[in-house]
């Protein structure tokens, strides 16, 4: 019966496609896209192919999802801890934030922030300058950045090298502690390495200080880095909405560690920071990670709402592609495939992490 139904639907579809003169298949991907995309991480123009356009969209999705996830975890943790604060005022404010943000649809929040940005901020000519080198106007936020210099690439390399050294150092320090009991201040040395190595690299290149300052030219800013209002509105909506859920997850995780654990840790003479690091956090993380994963996935999926405010994410670009070529089946299939890929890879990573923090039964 299922087979018959499938046959019926497929034959209908084929007839319809033929009637509308739409060629099925992914051949359209090699054609010229002939539409512009507002922001892109890789070189792109209207002469590029649809494949490239979709890639730009996918990268934009990754960009907003990645930045969003990092800030959300940070903000959500702070709010979750604030919710548990013994300070009545702080705790109640956190509770209000959580309840309000959870109960307003994320799409509405996106519209709200976008409207706020476009309607209340001044035009580029009268841009606000909240801090040196930052200009805020209804076309976006312009930042001053250091002017491109070969030193930057080497500084990035220095940071990567620092990460590798820290990883090796931690292994060595742990082994030494297990053998001799001597403690090595990995954390402090690690921070010093992460900051020091790029700094030394910067100095060896003669400490380039030239800045790329955004200047008003005509109707908009030139130079510096311009962040579009769409991106900011999308990021803000996603962060505020998801961090309310993350805060609840964090709160539940911390509450799941029984009070006796903390008391026992303190009674064997651990410092408060070590109590948190060695006793509370490892146990809380075990409860936090699985629901946190699903919140991260929700954020990634909700970033597809970008299409409603005009941020060129994957769905938005795919939607334009569908409208131009009429390849609706292929377009929607691509959307689904890309999000499935995002979802599966995020959950694969989080599952790997979860295994590391999970309870090891002996």
């Amino acid at each position: 019966m299922v087979g018959f139904l499938a046959y019926y639907l497929v034959s209908n579809t084929l007839i319809n496609l033929e009637r509308q003169k739409i060629a099925s298949g992914f051949g359209f991907l090699h054609k010229e896209s002939s539409f512009e995309i507002g922001e892109s991480l890789i070189p792109y123009s209207a002469a590029s192919t649809y494949t490239r356009a979709l890639l730009v969209g996918a990268l934009n999705t990754v960009k907003v999802a990645f930045i969003g996830i990092v800030i959300t975890i940070f903000l959500g943790t702070i709010i979750g801890v604030a919710r548990l604060s013994s300070n009545w005022l702080v705790s109640k404010l956190a509770a209000i934030f959580i309840e309000v943000m959870q109960d307003i649809p994320v799409l509405l929040q996106l519209f709200f922030w976008y409207a706020l940005f476009c309607e209340t901020l001044p035009s580029p000519q009268e841009a606000l300058t909240p801090g040196a080198g930052i200009s805020v106007c209804n076309r976006g936020v312009a930042f001053t950045i250091p002017e491109a210099h070969p030193a930057h690439r080497y500084m990035l390399l220095a940071i990567l090298a620092g990460c590798v050294i820290i990883y090796l150092m931690r292994r060595w320090a742990r082994k030494r502690q297990e053998k001799t009991g001597q403690f090595f201040p990995t954390f402090r040395v690690g921070i010093a390495l992460l900051l020091g190595l790029p700094f030394v690299t910067w100095l060896t290149f003669g400490a380039p200080l030239k800045m790329d300052v955004p200047v008003l030219e005509g109707f908009n800013f030139q130079g510096g880095v311009m962040v579009s209002p769409e991106f900011i509105a999308l990021l803000m909506g996603l962060i505020l909405y998801t961090s309310a859920f993350v805060a609840e997850v964090v709160r539940a995780g911390i509450q799941s560690v029984s009070k006796g654990q903390k008391e026992a840790a303190m009674s064997i003479g651990l410092r408060p920071s070590l109590v948190l690091n060695l006793v509370i956090l490892p146990q809380a993380l075990r409860v936090i990670v699985p629901p946190l994963t699903s919140q991260m996935l929700n954020l990634t999926k909700n970033s597809s709402l970008a299409v409603a405010i005009g941020y060129p994410d994957f769905v938005s670009v795919a939607n334009t592609t569908i409208n131009q070529t009429g390849q609706s089946i292929e377009g929607v299939a691509l959307i689904m495939a890309v999000y499935l890929f995002f979802s599966l890879s995020t959950s694969a990573f989080m599952n790997w992490y979860n295994k590391r923090v999970a309870l090891v039964e002996r």
Binding site: L9, T13, I15, N16, N87, F111, S304, N319, S343
Partner: protein, 361 residues
Amino acid sequence: MKQAVQAEELRPPVTSIGVIGWIKNNLFNGTPNSVLTLVTLFFLWKTVPPLFRWAFLDSAWHTTGQACREAAGACWSIISMNYRFILFGFYPYEEHWRPFLAMMILVGLLFYSRDRNHWKKTLAYAWIIGLFAMGLLMKGGLFGLPSVESTQWGGLPLTLLLAIFGLTAAYPLGVILALGRRSKMRGIKVLCILYIELIRGVPLISLLFMSSIIFPLFLPEGVTFNKILRAQVAIILFTAAYIAEVVRGGLQGMARGQYEAAESIGLNYYLTMRLIILPQALKIVIPPTVSILISAFKDTSLVVIIALFDLLKTTQSVLSNPEWMGFSREAYVFVAILYFLGCFSMSNYSRKLERELSRGD
């Protein structure tokens, strides 16, 4: 007399009881907390009064759009002058009492269902009759009510309709999927897992696109489906996958003994599920089901993207009117309050229910 004096002498110091004691204990215990309180108070003092001024003192409540532009504060006139359109969309103006009555029936039913003592068979019949009456009121065509095409439906009734019917239809489907996922028949199991994981991995918007762009291609020439119904189907398919996971949690929470006991008194699979397992499993998962209802309610706002006139879209079309252009903040705050009231009452109810159930009645 002597005893009373003693009792008075034993009273704790003033600074540790009453208002002062409470403030000292909850706001100023220790230096870091005191600093935190002061910083928070400063922040509130900087934000709340201007917001209050904007929203209440300097605001315009019942004026034209032109007068609004001269007011320094919020323009609530956009709501008071357009609330009928925001709430009911393109529904014929004289017939607005019908969707209103339908919503009242819904609210009444929800309110009556709050009490768990009312959960009987009669309530189920009341819901069926109520939903039918709501449909009749919206659609018309019987009992002298003029018929209203579904293309004219919009606003809050449409939002509620999509959420309520979405959940009612998704629930049985979700239960079936959950049972299928735990089935011993491999084919069914694999199909159910594929379905659930596929749907949970993609955003709702892709399903809405599918229903609005692809679905018409599946049908033979000349056959068309109502746009609202197509979006409704997408929401149902989406919600069902999430319900399936929640129900699966409930099924996993069932002790093995329950299955074995049912088997030992000779019940077959269908009877075991209907009489023993599902009644218990579904009861455990009532609170998470309410959370799904909440997200389904919020998710209905996504139909904006396929141009259905739900609450959010009617608001946006008011905003595109030149007279009211630029008052998005006020309009969106109003819609946000409506959504908040709906979701907050549901989540409050879910918490109450959770407490009741965990008490083990």
